[in-house]
Amino acid sequence: MSAATRPAGGRHSPCRVGGVLFAPVIMLAAVIMLASAAGARAQAPVYDPIEPVNRAIFSFNRVIDGLILDPAQQMYGYAVPEPAKTGFRNFLSNLTSPITFLNDLLQGERERAGVTLGRFMINSTLGFFGVFDFASVVGMDEPHTEDLGQTLGVYGIGSGPYLVLPILGPSSTRDAFGFVVTTLALDPVTYIMSDDAALATRIVSGVDTRYQLDPALDDLERNSLDLYASTRTIYLQKREAEIRNGAPVTDDANYEDIFNEEFEESLE
């Protein structure tokens, strides 16, 4: 089991550090991203120039997972009743949906923005501060999430060098940048909660995410030939799928290249 296999989703940070500490990180990320982003979407699907460093952090994350995160998610799975888990997920999903709303707008997705806003209004009131997903009960569209990394992807910015973040797991330069900016400047959790409460919320959220991913991680660990490589490609593919917003994988030129006739013939 691996913490490292857990995608570093924008809302699932188990750590909150003071903004001052993060500022240099943002600057650095911005520089790396801008330096590498130009035309990067056309590059090969996997770009991992600092693989040795990433592999080291990946191994570190696996140790942390075995010692802390995996036992924590097992306890969480056992001790917390399902309705409480669902309620917590709904609450947090609703609380952070303004991030999705903002990114819907930035992506020019007016219809999806409308869904996000409508759900937020209904669930924040009738859904008792978001604990109940009343919007789904009355037949509104299923919720979706958007983050800044996805918006940048929609703008044509490539993922840049692949990164494995300590504790947080797989990311990319673009997505890490988006994540840091979102956490510091946009995340309602940062604004409406005390530092301690925000930290606690993010830890529980991290454990919950790990809990939900556990069967998939188990399967991956059993069947992967190289866990680091499979985690990397799965993260990158998943992000591309999220950026496509439901459009089929065949819209991806890199994907179609694999099945390209000339290419196949060269394999004869």
Binding site: L225, A229, S230, A241, V249, F259, L267
Partner: protein, 218 residues
């Protein structure tokens, strides 16, 4: 279309007669599927495989081994495993020797079958529905399905890339929630070949084959 259906309670027909009858009854279906490449032929194909697989998985009277035989047969018949193996190896296929290719395809097939065997017990009452399909080019289609979970959790979106051959259709990729089987395996395999060569890859795959799934994982 009228189908001959033997009375399930004490059928008067011997088993082989029933199979023949079933074959005759489904023949028009098969012909139609072959004639009409367009308009949902690939959807019918996926639907048919799904129904056959679910039918086996749901039959409690069958042992795990008996189920496995049927599922492996479905997999072998309706999936182009040789092409999958080739696509997964990608550009390294070109430089591999004939012996390496044979050894690799062999262990690839065995590994797919083993993975299927390991996963068989995970079936927990899921069903599926066809969402739609699109033609990608003159030989490939993409069929979108939802895997519906009995818990009522959100469905898992799975897309099937189906290729039309002269003798029928076969699956050549599975894309679950945007994650393609071919792309994923290609990435793993490419890394290994780049660092350990074909021998190293075949060795690692063989080791995984001998590995008891019960000893790893949470």
């Amino acid at each position: 279309m009228k189908r001959e259906r033997p009375d399930p309670a004490g059928s008067p027909l011997p088993l082989n007669r029933r199979i023949v009858l079933a074959g005759i009854a489904t023949l028009p279906l098969a012909l139609r599927a072959k004639a009409a490449r367009a308009a949902g032929a690939s959807e019918d194909f996926i639907n048919e495989i799904g129904d056959q697989a679910l039918d086996v998985l749901r039959r409690d009277e069958l042992s795990k081994e008996e189920k496995l035989v049927v599922i492996k047969d479905l997999l072998d018949r309706y999936t182009d495993l040789d092409l999958l193996a080739k696509l997964v190896l990608g550009r390294y296929w070109r430089t591999a020797s004939a012996g390496e290719r044979d050894a690799y395809v062999q262990v690839f097939r065995e590994l797919v079958m083993k993975t299927m065997a390991d996963r068989l017990h995970e079936y927990g009452g899921e069903t599926f529905e066809i969402v739609g399909s699109r033609e990608i080019n003159d030989r490939d289609s993409l069929v979108a399905t939802n895997i519906l979970r009995p818990s009522g959790a959100p469905p898992i979106q799975v897309e099937w890339r189906v290729r039309q051959y002269d003798d029928g259709q076969r699956i050549i990729d599975v894309v679950a929630e945007g994650i393609s089987l071919v792309v994923t395996q290609r990435s793993e395999v490419g890394d290994i070949v780049a660092s350990d060569g074909m021998d190293g890859l075949i060795e690692i795959m063989r080791k995984r084959l001998d590995h008891d799934p019960g000893t790893t994982g949470g």
